[in-house]
């Protein structure tokens, strides 16, 4: 494939007419934010640079509406090795082992293309975990759909479930747990949150901070195509009625390549070659290179024509903003390029040295030798807007007056109706489509309180669960936030695990509306309180805002992914009633 040597946008261009207010708006930047861009640049940015700002300052990458509140969550405990701020959080399991986990949303893409959207969501969270040096050992998910009678629900549900299975099954990671709820508030905006738990030696965790000016910057995985250019900014904008038309193509995932990428990365991680590694998730090369450089306090020079390309005629703008899947960025120790190249070639993956670190603390982008972008790293990362958005506390809803509900004359029939209702009925149909047994270590299968996967020592197990009750969060955000944490805690205890830490996925509507912002603030407050009380720290998470269609917001849905340790698998309690005539005890209030 011959790259085109002309680029329509050059850093040196003085043609002021290029960046029009329309272009700025298309990039999702407010006029205040754009003024700041010009101040940081000391000049008008070119389109490549503007694109980079728009990605870095999108809600998705900058957490501009939620950062202030996320800081209030408890993230510390003696067993926490890495809290929020890396690709995934890490806890110490003792005996030289660490669990690495995170949850991530793929809501909007899954609504547009349920199979591919959900599949690429699984692919993304798997990369977040193996990037840290961990071999993924289980996947979970948390799903929310609209009214079961809504004409689109069945199609969306079937596609999402098939997509989650299609990706996880092929990669060979058991999908062992999850949850599904239905509510009309999700009719136009489903939620697909995917969680991965991995296992790593506790003294060999890999981080994303780049170091060592002169060290090579290496690109591995699939080639870059024009996938989802601007998806990250899209994911932060409210759905309109014409969303189907406006949206660019969604990404197509390739679990086969991901499987090869996992094996190749873990093989390279067993050597001493890697200085830093970061996956190219949403916002691709831009956010991965910026995050690595900004965390390490270094600069980067990239020769973009060296990026492996899937299509002819790609521009620097497209290369920086592409969201093609199954790609990683690494900084290697000098002299280790050939070791690395051999491993990636063995696995039939692309490998290219695309640049090097510098001490300039700037990002310099070149295209066939010509500079096409030159941005300061720290001001851009640090000056990412942070908002203290106004919020109103939701008025507490009056408790239901039980006297107003007619007494039942057939409790058995009521029970049957409840058990058969969409929110309570068996999910076997779903988890039988997930390979939940692969690797031979699934000790508690889906269908119980929490899943349990055996650890390599053969005696201990790791338990995991995802939980949230959006109805409660809507009725009383603080209490709902607490309840989600408490439920995950109980689910872990029910399989005999010590709950250790959580990841969380905050799914809400438009934070610019004070009542939605109030839900966010309330739920985070409740979660924080419960986590503090239980010494159950938050070690990673994800925020998905603007989940609205036609002004109709979803229910507040702060999903909790809890992980706990089972010390002795042989002593694990069972959820099944083993024999007739046993006494049933109820514990608690």
């Amino acid at each position: 494939m011959e790259p085109r040597t002309s680029c329509p946008f050059r850093a040196g261009d003085t043609d002021v007419s290029e960046i029009t207010p329309d272009i700025i708006a298309e990039h999702g930047l407010s006029s205040d934010e754009y003024a700041q861009v010009e101040e940081i640049m000391g000049r008008e940015p070119n389109l490549v640079e503007l694109g980079i700002f728009s990605v870095m300052w999108s809600e998705h990458c900058s957490y501009k509406s939620s950062k202030k509140w996320l800081k209030t969550l408890p993230t510390d405990s003696p067993h926490v090795i890495q809290g929020p701020g890396e690709n995934a959080g890490v806890i110490n399991l003792g005996e030289g082992q660490a669990a690495v986990f995170k949850i991530e949303s793929h809501n909007h893409p899954s609504y547009i293309e349920p199979y591919q959207g959900a599949a690429t969501g699984v692919g993304g969270i798997l990369r977040d975990v193996f990037t840290m040096g961990a071999r993924p050992i289980m996947n979970l998910n948390a799903l929310r759909f609209g009214d079961p009678r809504h004409p689109k629900t069945r199609h969306l549900l079937a596609g999402v479930v098939a997509g989650i299975g299609g990706y996880g099954n092929c990669v060979g990671i058991p999908t062992v747990g999850g949850e599904i709820n239905f509510h009309p508030a999700y009719n136009g905006n489903i939620l697909v949150n995917a969680m991965t738990v991995g296992l790593a030696p506790s003294d060999r965790i890999f981080y994303s901070a780049a170091a060592g000016p002169g060290n090579p910057v290496v690109y591995v995985g699939s080639k870059t195509g024009r996938d989802g250019i601007h998806g990250a900014t899209m994911a932060s904008a409210e759905f309109g009625d014409d969303s189907e038309e406006k949206r660019p193509t969604v990404q197509v995932g390739d679990p086969f390549t991901e499987k090869l990428l996992i094996e190749a990365c873990l093989e390279l991680m067993a050597t001493e070659a890697i200085v830093a590694i970061q996956d190219m998730g949403a916002a691709g090369l831009t956010s991965s290179s910026f995050e690595m450089a900004s965390k390490g306090g270094v600069g980067v020079e990239l020769d973009l024509e060296r990026v492996p390309m899937r299509e002819a005629g790609m521009t620097p703008y497209e290369l920086m903003l592409s969201e093609s899947q199954e790609r990683m960025l690494m900084v290697l120790k000098p002299g280790h390029e050939e070791t690395a190249r051999k491993i990636f070639e063995k696995w039939d993956l692309d490998f290219a040295v695309i640049g090097q670190l510098t001490s300039s603390r700037r990002m310099v982008l070149r295209w066939h030798g010509e500079t096409v972008g030159d941005l300061p790293i720290d001001p851009l990362a640090e000056a990412a807007p942070e908002y203290d958005r106004p919020y109103t506390t939701s008025p507490p809803r009056a408790p239901l007056d039980t006297a107003s509900v007619a007494e039942s004359d057939d409790p058995l029939a009521d029970l049957e109706r409840l058990v058969g209702s969409p929110d309570l009925c068996s999910r076997r149909w779903v988890w039988e489509q997930y390979d939940h047994l692969i690797n031979g270590d699934t000790i508690r299968r889906p269908g119980g309180d929490a899943a349990v996967v055996r650890l390599p020592d053969g005696q201990r197990g790791l338990a995991a669960t995802t939980d949230c009750t959006p109805r409660y969060c809507y009725a009383a955000p603080v209490e709902g936030g607490k309840q989600a944490v408490a439920e995950s805690w109980r689910n872990l205890c029910a399989v005999g695990a010590h709950p250790m830490a959580v990841t969380n996925n905050l799914n809400f509507g438009n934070p610019e509306k004070p009542e939605i912002m109030g839900q966010i603030v309330g739920c985070i407050e409740g979660m924080g309180e419960a986590c503090r009380a239980l010494d159950y720290p938050v070690i990673s998470g994800n925020v998905s805002l603007y989940n609205e269609t036609g002004g109709q917001a979803i229910l507040p849905t702060p999903v909790i992914g809890g992980v706990g340790l089972v010390d002795d698998l042989s002593g694990m309690p069972s959820g099944a009633l083993p024999a007739p005539d046993l006494d049933v005890l109820v514990i608690g209030e």
Binding site: N169, K259, W347, G440
Partner: protein
Amino acid sequence: MQTAVIRFPGTNRENDVVMALQRATGRPPRIIWHKDASLPEVDLIVLPGGFSYGDHLRAGAMAAHSPVMKEVVRQAERGVAILGICNGFQILTEAGLLPGALLRNAGLKFVCRDVHLRIETSGSVFTEGYNAGQLIRVPVAHHDGCYYADDELLGRLRDEDRIAFRYCSNGGGVDERSNPNGSRDEIAGILSASRRILGMMPHPENATEPLQGSTDGCGLFDGLTRALH
């Protein structure tokens, strides 16, 4: 007994089978990379489950043409026992070492669950650890497990006692309702004419320990170990 497990790009159940072989034979199997053009001297070659080459085009189609398969065919001609599980079964049919083909499940969905199998013959190194008619419980996990044979082939498989396992109910009744994928004649596994090659969709390697919920798969690996040592 010496064993080898072949690994293709996209193979993902090799460790499961390694654990089962290690338990039964007391030795770790050799792991063979698909680009290797030669195989060590072994008594048993296993093609494990997974999604070789992503199952793109047809499950098993591309793995069937990789360099190592030429060597597997040669070993098969020499009488070395060959076991293909799930994707391994698909590869063996695509390579022509077993007859018939595996199609998309009749329900079109991936299916992972425990099934019951009836042992149809104990007349092979793979099944002599069981009695004909015995029931075992093991999981399946596949998307393309619907075994297809035309009438002529089906007749031959029956006449030559080459059907190794059939899907059945927990009472042992072989019927359509217990069939997870629409396979013809409820077939879950078949033998080659030489009886030295077995292809099966279910995963006996995932039912070899009490903690896995069933140890019914042990009979296959223990039987092989006794027969081939």
